[in-house]
Assembly symmetry: C2
Homo-oligomer: 384 residues x 2
């Protein structure tokens, strides 16, 4: 079953209202910040102590799956509920956050909510991002804040005691190794680029090929050259051209404009810097006729999670009797932007064949349950 839940839409608001309703049932308070990040909170015995935070995001890729993101929010709520029902008094407050626009599927880049919260960027910096219908992020955000004007506001940013995010692995390793729990050690680095090639429109039936400045043909040359630059026999490097926009995009006109995105990731900072820095020159050298602009839209070096949180997750997995392994995250998560703010970690659960961003995304109930139990115990230890 496919799931398409774009951020800051009516469907997103319905999901948030559902979450708010469930929060009310366990007596959690709800608030919202200027990036529309949604916060559920239950105090411990010391309401002034720095909180322990968990959560993830609720938006999906277009035609994405039913687990990516939303699992971490629901697991957080479930853990909060279980810890409440257990009645053991935690010292620290617990908070569950639903970050705004992690996917970047409607407004690029992703992780706007967590970046704004952590101070990595200002929420204003994203104002002019537009969705495929030309709607500005600032306008969609204002509409969201207006629709939830009944919720108390809280400032962007604070300093939690720790942050732990549960998520499906979105990769094949846990399944291949037969482990129930991934103790995540960090996140590989990412650099995203947009390449735009500018040629001239011309009549497809009359213009000799030698006289054309065909942006599509130059895009072909550029991507072919980038494939060579990004070649990695180890298959550790991730290089993806996922989005292409051609103008005027009619069958009988030579294209005067072609733009494409580059999603480039690697766990080694040196590879990420060397090959990423080479992109503009490689494209320029490959292109024959078109004008070239290469814009870097996102740049995040690899991050390492906190040993304190990694160890807590591992202890919880052992206590729960879950088979587990340490591994880095191939995917990008909101947790990446929390790292500079407080001790941070993640709990992974397997997903079938590593498939994600796809309607076939699936995790078994027993794995989802195991991940939630490990998350709850980790939160309990950190909040004690």
């Amino acid at each position: 079953m496919a799931s398409t839940a774009p951020v800051l839409t009516e469907l997103d608001r319905v999901a948030r209202r559902l979450l708010i309703g469930w929060a009310g049932e366990i007596g959690a308070t709800v608030s919202i910040d200027a990036a529309a990040n949604l916060w559920l909170r239950r105090n411990g015995t010391d309401p002034d102590a720095a909180p322990v935070v968990t959560g993830s995001h609720m938006d999906t890729q277009p035609n994405g799956g039913r687990f990516d993101g939303i699992y971490g929010v629901i697991a957080g709520l479930e853990a909060m509920t279980a810890l409440h029902e257990e009645g053991g008094a935690l010292r620290r407050p617990l908070e569950v956050v639903a970050w705004t626009n992690e996917e970047g599927g409607r407004f690029a880049p992703g992780c706007m909510g967590s970046m704004s919260w952590s101070g990595y960027r200002r929420v204003e910096d994203f104002a002019d991002a537009t969705d495929p219908d030309g709607i500005r992020f600032a306008d969609a955000l204002a509409a969201q804040l207006a629709a939830e004007a009944d919720l108390p506001h809280r400032p962007l940013g604070n300093r939690p005691h720790a942050y732990v995010e549960a998520h499906i692995e979105q990769g094949p390793r846990l399944e291949a190794e037969g482990r129930d729990i991934g103790v995540v050690t960090g996140i590989q680095g990412s650099r995203f680029f947009t390449v735009t090639l500018t040629g001239d429109t011309a009549h497809a039936g009359t213009t000799p090929l030698a006289l054309r400045r065909d942006a599509v043909q130059d895009m072909l040359r550029a991507i072919t050259a980038l494939n060579a630059l990004m070649h990695d026999p180890q298959d550790v490097l991730r290089f993806t051209v996922g989005r292409i926009v051609v103008e005027p995009n009619t069958s009988n006109s030579v294209a005067n404009r072609a733009s494409f995105t580059i999603d480039f990731r690697h766990p080694d900072k040196n590879v990420l810097l060397a090959r990423g820095d080479a992109i503009a020159d490689v494209v320029q050298a490959a292109v024959r006729d078109a004008g070239v602009t290469v814009q870097e839209t996102f740049h995040a070096l690899p991050v390492a999670f906190s040993p304190q949180v990694i160890d807590a997750v591992e202890r919880a997995a052992i206590d729960q009797g879950s088979s587990h392994m340490r591994l880095p995250s191939g995917a990008f998560h909101d947790a990446q932007f929390v790292v500079p703010v407080c001790p941070t970690g993640m709990v992974f659960v397997p997903c079938r064949k590593g498939i994600s961003h796809n309607p076939a995304e699936y995790s078994e109930p027993r794995h989802l349950t195991a991940g939630t139990k490990v998350l709850a115990q980790t939160l309990a230890e950190l909040a004690a």
Copy 2:
């Protein structure tokens, strides 16, 4: 100055009303057929004689020019006006037609109006063609017919005595040879295809490249192989990939679908058949992971115009003292579909640098005037 006049829009209707108004000023009658082709008519001394028809189309490519198509309609009206004012009685009726959707820029394929009129296709066959906003051709056509319900209807199809269409060359030959008039001998053949590659979406950050079925990368392989198939050192062959659609088209998902168009033209029927027939196999052999479908969306062999009309155009150019040359048309025109119905020809005028389907499209007033005079004299001879 750019011109974007998509077919069957409000802007198109405004242009048609303007034309209808001008027709009224010279006492021409106006009618419309089931494909929304617009017909202006003035009788000669024998109202029952088969008419001599001229005209062209009024729609443009997105971000196209100000001469392609509309010149032939306005030149036809001007010729009709001049022949009327001259007072010399023609025997045959004169008709000026504005064909619907020649460009195919909004609804593919082009030439729907002339194909429907000539019986090459039925207008119903185009019902499900959709524009980029998902509007069906049938609905846009119904709206157009409703908006012009005040106009008398005429049946689709008839058998004119002859058809002559004036048009800018849309190629560089007349300018290069310093001639004012092109006596068009025929139109090269065209075959259009849509290739669709179907892979699997996957997470750009986690999925090893070896495990992907990336529709964008397979599109790259397919177009590279087609470039080799279509290689022509003579630069006579025209091969264009002008339209690309990728899904889900987000930067951080591997594409599960990529489709692209092929616009392939050649004046030699044998080349057109041999290379066109090879396309599906070449794509299939080039693609590594994706599923492949290749659909031929249009197939028109080269056509030769009528010696009777070619000679009449040439005599008119000589009489008017215009420098001229015979040449085939590289572009595709409504005249192509009139060929099987009646003796057909075309008059070309130069356009600067051969540029067309581009805001820089330009023809000099002296050339436009010369073309109109040659058209008028040709019509007068054919209608005498």
